[in-house]
């Protein structure tokens, strides 16, 4: 398991969502903290990656590569906001 930053998800998330979300603000559904995706800690493995809240560990974003498709989940992000 490799620990990276939210920056590392820019390519995968852009492919699925169509925009680069690393400066997007996420509201953690676990503790309510608000922070940029780019500064979350990402745990990467051959199965995929998860970005966790730095405060409470809630899984904010998941990226899983399956044959022929890439899945993105936002299980712990209660809301997202773009920096103007």
């Amino acid at each position: 398991m490799t620990v990276l930053d939210g920056n590392a998800l820019a390519g995968a998330l852009t492919e699925v969502l169509g925009v680069d979300p690393t400066t997007t603000l996420l509201r953690c559904s676990g503790c309510g903290a608000l922070g940029a995706l780019g500064r979350t800690r990402v745990h990467a493995s051959p199965m995929g990656s998860v970005a966790r809240c730095g405060g409470c560990g809630t899984v904010l974003v998941t990226v899983v590569d399956a044959p022929g498709r890439r899945w993105v989940g936002l299980p712990g992000a209660r809301a997202v906001a773009a920096m103007a």
Partner: protein, 261 residues
Amino acid sequence: MTLPDTGLEARITPTPSAAARRRPAWHPATVVAVSPETPNARRIVLDVPTWPGNDPGQHLDLRLTAEDGYQASRSYSIASSGDATSVVLAVDRVEDGEVSPFLVDAVEVGDALEVHGPLGGWFVWRPGVSDRPVQLVAGGSGIVPLAAIAGAHADAGDPAPFRLLYAVRTPEDVFFRSELARAEAAGVDTTIVYSRRAPDGAAVPAGRLTREALAAAVFPPDTGALVYVCGSTPFVEQVLRWLGELGHDTTDVRAERFGGS
């Protein structure tokens, strides 16, 4: 209501999103130059005719396709910035890696690759946006995006005070020697810490970076410096811990960790 101080809060800076200006996409690329950067790393220059340009500090995903259709992709920081359609990478060989040994040992001028980018709006610095002092901290090949930032600062004649702390093993392991010398001449206060062997006649003997050496080299917390840290995951975690102990607001530090691949 007061939110808990969780470390997840980001200070919002009013910089326009890079994504808004340069939309990431897959682009065909051709290798136009390769040269040894260090005994263990190689500089690779790509010609990407459709490249929209990139901001200093951004990265790209590079995809290799084997003859049997097998694909592998990895993220690499970009050492160049601006509107040019040539893109400079410097790749360190990870011994048991899947992609980097190919890029360091096997890729040749004329080879075709695919790149996805420019990526990342977080680990980015643009000249003229802010007059905050900027502290760059690099471990090993973590210098790549920071060389782009220091170079952009020098090229723009940007007035923000800049410092670079660069931790490497030996003098031969220094990336971008001439580019960093140019940035230093343009006012980037540069400290290089050698962990295994220092140059002949160096005032400071070789040794691992310490908290005291970090404190001596970086802007003090009360300068409000914007800090960028890039290197291996253990290096970045150690530097972040020390910066916190020295009184820096680590929720405002921009970090880019890289794993091995």
